[in-house]
Amino acid sequence: MGPNGSGKSTLLRCVYRALRPTAGTVRLGEEDVYAISARESARRLAALPQEAVSEFDFTVAEVVAMGRLPHQRSMARATDEDLRTCEAALAGVGAGHLTDRGFLTLSGGEKQRVLIARALAQQPRVLILDEPTNHLDIAQQLEVLALVRESGLTVLTALHDLNLAALHCDLIHVIDAGRIVASGPPHDVLTPALLAEVFGVRAHRVPHPETGAVQLLFDRLQPA
């Protein structure tokens, strides 16, 4: 997480190969992501970029089927395994009933579920999400984050909402002006001092009444 313009999306884009890093390497395990082919890396890393989606009228089934692209030869027909994987991915996000709908006719929450299904159909080891809760109502936000957690994959996500991050993330990395300034579990990272420095807000930490997780209340930073 980090303020707007701090470099969250840029960092993520380097990871899913939309942007080649000018310095440094992106490693998945021991492997440099840019040393393997784009296809190969797409079998390991799936991503939900933050971009306005297509104006072309694909069906939900077609959108999910695109997730199989890195596994398919360009001229081969979809195999039974492809079809089963897509079906399971769609059912897994509770969107099995949407199969034949036009993607453009879905609500924001439904679209996000379908896109997660597409990412799951890639059968990756790591899932990368760039602001997956944008434009969703609070219930949809919680659902989306629960879904990606249930996937059992390693998830790397940019999040705006610090409280959602505190509830759903194991590790938080705070990025400010292109540099990681803090890393660790939410409890250690989300301190009033850091939030004041990076986000310019005054924060109070309160325990979640049920789970005890860190939650934050914010005020404007008063000039001392």
Partner: protein, 369 residues
């Protein structure tokens, strides 16, 4: 009436809708459609060979077509009829099919490439570049050394020059981006059109201006067997590349970032598509002039019938475009016979009502609106 919150259901409001919302888009099964088009194509070609000013009977037409296809003998007194059917009409129908297929396939590709449903093969400025070369030949007699090839070679060469120019202006460090490509292409389009218009304006002979006009609106009147092979080769090679890239086109249509996440290098794919589109457009425009509307309308019509998946789209659109253009060409010869109507006029006259009909009948989301 007093409202009370107690009327709200106790159960969570957010249950998954079951069958709610708009009905799934109705689509025509692909095998049925391909079978129909597969039958319609040869039938249309025969009609193309059978229609014209000299009243030949159908058995005669069939006989001469068969003779042409098999290289069989033709009686001496039949030589004239044979020439009309096999050397004039049939190559014209074949060329119409090739041009229709090429423009439709490239329309599909360009729409995915610039991610804009309103794009067509001419938005890249290539065809208007070709027009400059073609009109230089028609009006000023340039390229005279090329003889019968002067017109098409001038058109093709200037199409390639236009391509290089558009590419050089549109490219950035990040490759070709959709918006820059459209803007550059459109700007070049107006630039080249101005040159063409000036040449027509400056033409001393009225007849030259008329043939320039005819070329700009598209015509298959100049078709001979010599104009078929190059156009056919370009369209077949281009179509093969597009079909081979169909899945990548799907990813590209979803956005460059999504494409990257699916292992598709959007910048490289767009370059490939630009080269293919420019070469095919150049080759097609060189033999037929700038036939409008086919490359915009056929991709949309095909999308309404089989959806946006490029694997299906690239099977249906070229066949549909081929059949459409054969019939448009037939009509262009019949409507004002013995005079010929520019094909571009008829593509619009036929295309617009078909398009409106299809659009009203189906739940087609047109640019998401």
């Amino acid at each position: 009436m007093a409202t009370s919150l107690e009327h709200l259901p106790a159960a969570p409001l957010r249950t998954a809708p079951t069958g709610a919302g708009p009905a799934p888009p109705r689509r025509v099964p692909l095998p049925v459609l391909l079978t129909c088009l597969g039958i319609a194509l040869p039938v249309s070609l025969v009609f193309g060979a059978g229609t014209g000013a000299s009243g030949l009977s159908w058995p005669e037409v069939a006989h001469h077509l068969w003779a042409g296809l098999t290289g069989g003998p033709v009686a001496a007194d039949q030589a004239g009829a044979y020439t009309i059917v096999w050397e004039l009409r049939f190559p014209r129908a074949v060329l119409a099919a090739i041009v229709g297929a090429g423009l439709s396939a490239i329309g599909v590709a360009v729409q995915a490439m610039v991610r804009n449903a309103l794009a067509d093969p001419f938005v890249l400025g290539i065809s208007s570049g070709a027009a400059v070369g073609a009109n230089a030949v028609l009006i000023f007699g340039a390229f005279g050394a090329f003889g019968v090839w002067a017109l098409s070679s001038a058109a093709f060469v200037s199409a390639l020059l236009a391509m290089v120019l558009v590419y050089a202006v549109a490219r950035t460090d990040r490759g070709l981006t959709p918006l820059r490509l459209v803007l550059t292409g459109t700007a070049m389009y107006y630039g080249f059109s101005a040159v063409t218009t000036f040449m027509v304006f400056a033409a001393e002979r009225g007849e030259a201006a008329r043939s320039a006009m005819m070329w700009l609106l598209g015509s298959l009147g100049g078709a001979t067997w010599t104009s078929v092979p190059i156009a056919a080769a370009a369209v077949c090679a281009g179509l093969a590349h597009l079909v081979w890239s169909a899945r990548r086109l799907n990813a590209l249509a979803m956005g460059d970032e999504t494409a990257a996440a699916l292992g598709v290098d959007a910048g490289r794919l767009r370059k490939e598509l630009f080269l293919v589109s420019a070469a095919v457009t150049g080759a097609v425009v060189a033999v037929s002039g700038a036939i409008g509307f086919v490359g915009l309308m056929v991709p949309h019509a095909a999308r309404m019938l089989v959806g946006a998946d490029h694997r299906r789209l690239l099977a249906v659109a070229p066949l549909a475009g081929a059949v459409l253009l054969i019939w448009v060409d037939i009509l262009s010869r019949v409507v004002l016979a013995p005079a010929e109507l520019p094909v571009g006029v008829l593509t619009a006259v036929i295309g617009v009502p078909c398009f409106v009909l299809l659009m009203r009948r189906r739940s087609y989301t047109f640019g998401g609106a």
